[in-house]
């Protein structure tokens, strides 16, 4: 269960709207982890008023009508729940949804006062480094080395976090006379918070359970990395998928900005229970995964758009099937096929010279191996071309067009689908088929 609001008496349309985004994002996140596609089943009364937080709001944000099923509550005979009571908020206090960032500098407390001038010169350099890259925060506060930043949406919060982490990685504290490099712990969370003024100081303040929750995630974060609550990650995911739907409608291809990796469940102080946390990283800057993820009968990894990356895939694949007692010698046809497919994707998918990522998933079911390559390049069906003429004389024989022919011969089956915005090429082969033996003689 993911807790969105800490105070159930203060749930209004804004909070429900946020809850919708969290459900949307969580569904997409789970689907991605399972290698599946999420469907929205919306049970609602189509005639009822539906403001922010209602089913119509959810459907609008979902964006993909092909993965939507509507269930009419009226037909089921289920009475519609009455709307919420009007706002019961104290005058002068406003509830709003914000992205929350807590950051703390590791080892600051151990710095002697004598080193503080150097520390602040270092921080000024960090701030200078951030100026170009950071997202727009709505509020910033600081106590010594601790930072509390809020922003109006998840992407702006993540942008600020990445700029902060990037500046800490780029600016070397030792150049400013500090004894060691400085690392920062950055934690992100999101949810409804209360905005008001402090009755004694008159200062603007943000408070509530979600502020406390954010502050409790920060100490468990790995220095140098950005950790985020499941709520934040779901909100970020929903924002990214809404941006993707919008880009797609305009005929473009959306490039995901952030990649969230599940890091486990941590226990927060009693009142806050357990909290699922993710590591947030930039898609681009990080590039492809350093290592394959192998989970029983599945392998997942990402590769850079460089044909030489097929070697990394082949090594991971041999390791993966080796764990199932399958000898490397039987995997040679796959190794050749990986070379051909990667060469093909790298040549045709993208027209720019930039870095792109190719996702590979492999699955073992009995003796059947299925490997899927996905890229977000221009739609290109490598199987649509005419087969190369094989009986030509040396002089007539074209150089090229051979790769996909080899893959066809070496695999049992080869399929292509355009699954917007991805090209997917699916290779299937039974391991029982002896390596290199054709099924039929020509």
């Amino acid at each position: 269960m993911v807790s969105v609001a800490e105070d159930r008496d203060r749930v209004d349309d804004v909070v429900l709207g946020f809850g919708n985004r969290v459900i949307d994002g969580t569904a997409r996140l789970r689907a991605e982890q399972l290698g599946a596609r999420p469907f929205l089943i919306a049970a609602c009364d189509p005639l009822a008023d539906s403001g922010p937080g209602g089913p119509a709001d959810f459907i609008d944000h979902w964006g993909d009508p092909t993965r939507l099923r509507l269930v009419d509550l009226d037909e089921l005979g289920i009475p519609t729940v009455p709307g919420l009571a009007p706002d019961t908020m104290v005058a002068g206090v406003e509830q709003r949804i914000v992205g929350l960032l807590f950051a703390d500098i590791v080892g600051f407390a151990r710095l002697d006062d004598a080193l503080l001038p150097q520390f602040w010169r270092f921080m000024a350099a960090v701030a200078g480094h951030m100026r170009d890259a950071a997202g727009q925060p709505s509020s910033q506060r600081s106590w010594g080395d601790a930072l509390f930043i809020t922003a109006a949406d998840a992407l702006a919060t993540a942008d600020y976090a990445m700029a902060l982490a990037g500046a800490f990685a780029a600016v070397d504290a030792r150049q400013f006379g500090l004894p060691q490099a400085m690392a920062i712990r950055i934690a992100l969370h999101a949810g409804p918070v209360f905005a008001g003024r402090h009755p004694m100081t008159g200062e603007a303040m943000l408070y509530g359970g979600n502020v406390n929750r954010a502050a409790r995630i920060e100490p468990i974060t790995v220095p140098g990395q950005v950790y985020a609550s499941a709520q934040f990650v779901a909100w970020l995911n929903a924002e990214e998928s809404a941006a993707e739907a919008e880009t797609r409608l305009a005929g473009g291809v959306y490039r995901p900005r952030y990649r969230c990796t599940y890091r486990g469940v941590v226990e927060l102080a009693k009142r806050y229970g357990s909290q699922a946390v993710y590591e947030v990283a930039t898609w681009r800057a990080e590039g492809p995964m350093a290592e394959a993820r192998i989970d029983g009968t599945r392998l997942a990894m990402t590769l850079a758009n460089d044909p030489a990356e097929h070697r990394r895939l082949a090594a991971a694949f041999v390791d993966f099937l080796g764990r199932h007692g399958i000898d490397e010698a039987r995997l040679v046809p796959f190794e050749i096929a990986f070379d051909e497919v990667m060469t093909n994707i790298c040549r045709y998918a993208w027209q720019d010279a930039g870095q792109h990522v190719i996702e590979v998933r492999a699955e073992l079911a009995g003796d059947l191996v299925r490997v899927t390559f996905s890229d977000d390049g221009i739609a290109f069906d490598p199987l649509a071309g005419e087969p190369t003429g094989l009986d030509d004389d040396i002089e007539e024989r074209e150089i090229g067009g051979l790769g996909i022919h080899l893959v066809r011969e070496l695999m049992d089956e080869l399929h292509y689908v355009r699954d917007e915005p991805y090209n997917r090429l699916i290779l299937t082969k039974r391991l029982a088929t002896p390596a290199g033996a054709p099924e039929e003689e020509p």
Binding site: P307, A308, H310, R311, V332, P333, E335, I336, D339, E340, M342, T343, L390, D391, D392, D393, I394, E395, R397, I399, G400, L402, G403, H405, L406, E409, L410, A435, G436, A437, P438
Partner: protein, 113 residues
Amino acid sequence: MSDDKADAGVAAANLVRVTGKLDVVASKAFEAELLAKLDSPEPVLFVDFADCAYVSSAGLRAVLIAAKTAKRGDHRLILAGMNPIVREVFKVSGFDRMLVIEDDLATAVAKHG
């Protein structure tokens, strides 16, 4: 082992040995070596695949370019020593019908040297 083969009457100048995996990366150096050795007065160039684990289409392209170059320069290109998977790749691509492929280097030298 490789010295024995070199003793089979083949000089380094007209022999290319393929080792490991002849993939998209390794094929560039392989092609350069083939073309360099074809640019010599030696009438026959032997390519020994005995230590080659596999060949991808990039390797086949290099062989095809070498075969075309050899034909124009009145050289002969003789391939030898393929393991079953390498042989299979040459077969399904139709290359085995355009090129001379012998079981091993010794046979190739005996017949064409």
